[in-house]
């Protein structure tokens, strides 16, 4: 299968799936290698950029997702009224920042830095799927360790946790 054909089939798959799809899933469906899949994905990304198409192809961790181009947001929003998109509260953002930078982190570590109880914000981030439990710390009480998810990357529009600005 040629890269250009593969890339347009991937476009169709991403369009139908809506949700994030992984490279191995696509490779299996197209019966091509993961390397070939990645080539096709990169080809598609370059094509979207050079043609300034209506959407972009973003990678969040292992997942790929089609999204509308940010520049067109005003038009899209006008079409989609009412837009019910919420940004995170200051408290949630701070809790998330500690977990993102120190992951895996316990609630105790977050509370230590923030100086307040964080039960509510940790629960709320879990509910939103932005963090997940990844095990328990080998310490007194074996507290739960939390890390960020692919959905976290998606929420902040980054492909990898290393894209966050480094701490001073």
């Amino acid at each position: 299968m040629e890269t250009i054909e593969a890339s347009h089939i991937i476009e169709a798959i991403l369009f139908v799936s809506g949700d994030a799809v992984t490279v191995p899933d696509i490779a299996l469906a197209l019966n091509i290698s993961e390397m070939e899949t990645i080539s096709a994905v990169e080809f598609l990304q370059r094509e979207y950029e050079s043609q300034t198409r209506g959407f972009t192809l973003r990678r969040y961790g292992d997942h790929l997702k089609l999204e509308t181009r940010a520049e067109y947001a005003p038009y899209v929003e006008r079409m989609l009224q009412p837009v019910q998109r919420q940004s995170l509260t200051q408290a949630s953002l701070e809790t998330l920042a500690v977990i993102a930078y120190r992951q895996p982190a316990t609630k105790g570590m977050v509370e230590q830095v923030r100086g307040v109880k964080c039960d509510y914000s940790v629960q709320s981030l879990l509910n939103k799927g932005l963090i997940k439990e990844v095990g328990r710390k080998e310490a007194l009480g074996r507290p739960i360790l939390y890390a960020t998810t692919d959905k976290f990357l998606e929420h902040f529009g980054i492909s990898d946790i290393r894209e966050l600005p480094t701490l001073p």
Binding site: F15, D19, E67, R85, S87, L93, A97, R114, E154, H155
Partner: protein, 244 residues
């Protein structure tokens, strides 16, 4: 003029402290040579939404600030203590300030990410799932058949293929009793000799039942000289020991 702070607008005591430091335009390091401690205690005491239940963290911080201040009035030890609460608080405040800056950057990332839209998955009718079964080869099928054939008892083909057919009994217990009696009348016979001529399973079973029946009725008896030795069958009732 007194300024009132609502505690709820701050994410904990560190947040309020940072706010006061920012307002006073001083460095975090200088909080203990400033009025920040007094401002903090004032702010907590006069907060219109002060609730001792919810403000416990603020109260704890206020208590710590008072303690640090009072220590400062005492003569200083010659060298700084290992865990100097003053330095510890400055370190916490510095770390918290960094955290707030990171959270601000993340909020900017979030803001631009909120400008892009995905879409819900399409709902399309799917064909029935394809099932691929591994290891289905003619050879594997053939091997399976051979395994079955090997395990199946020999000479049972007839019974296997027609398990539901009930055939007429070719061999009856009565018939076999007569056959055995006829042989015994000609003289004593070895047990094995009864089964000569390749009888099938049904015939073997019937012959054996017939023999047991004759033994029970006292029309035949069996003798065996050694343990596991040959069994010999005789006509009539066994004579009791000493009958001779």
């Amino acid at each position: 003029m007194a300024v009132f702070f609502r505690l709820k607008q701050f994410d904990g005591p560190l947040d309020l402290l940072l706010h006061l430091i920012g307002k006073a335009k001083i460095d975090i390091k200088d909080i203990f040579v400033s009025q920040i401690t007094e401002q903090f205690i004032d702010a907590v005491r006069t907060a219109p939404d002060f609730d001792p239940e919810e403000a416990s963290e603020f109260i704890a911080m206020a208590a710590m600030l008072v303690e640090i201040k009072s220590r400062a009035l005492l003569p200083r030890p010659p060298k700084p203590e290992e865990d100097d609460p003053e330095q510890a608080l400055i370190a916490r405040l510095t770390a918290y300030k960094q955290l707030k800056e990171s959270a601000e950057t993340m909020a900017e990332f979030e803001k631009s990410a909120l400008r892009v839209f995905g879409k819900l998955p399409e709902e399309i009718p799917l064909p029935p799932p394809t099932l691929e079964i591994d290891g289905l080869t003619l050879d594997a099928l053939w091997q399976a058949l051979l395994r079955v054939a090997e395990r199946a008892p020999k000479g049972e083909e007839e019974a296997e293929t027609m398990p539901q057919d009930i055939r007429r009994d070719c061999h009856t217990v009565e018939g076999c009793m007569k056959t055995i009696q006829k042989r015994l009348r000609a003289g004593a016979t070895r047990f094995e000799e009864l089964f000569e001529g390749k009888p099938n399973r049904e015939e073997i079973v019937t012959l054996f039942i017939a023999l047991l029946e004759l033994l029970r009725l006292g029309k035949a008896y069996a003798t065996q000289n050694d343990l596991l030795g040959a069994i010999t069958l005789h006509q009539g009732r066994r004579k009791a020991v000493g009958d001779d």
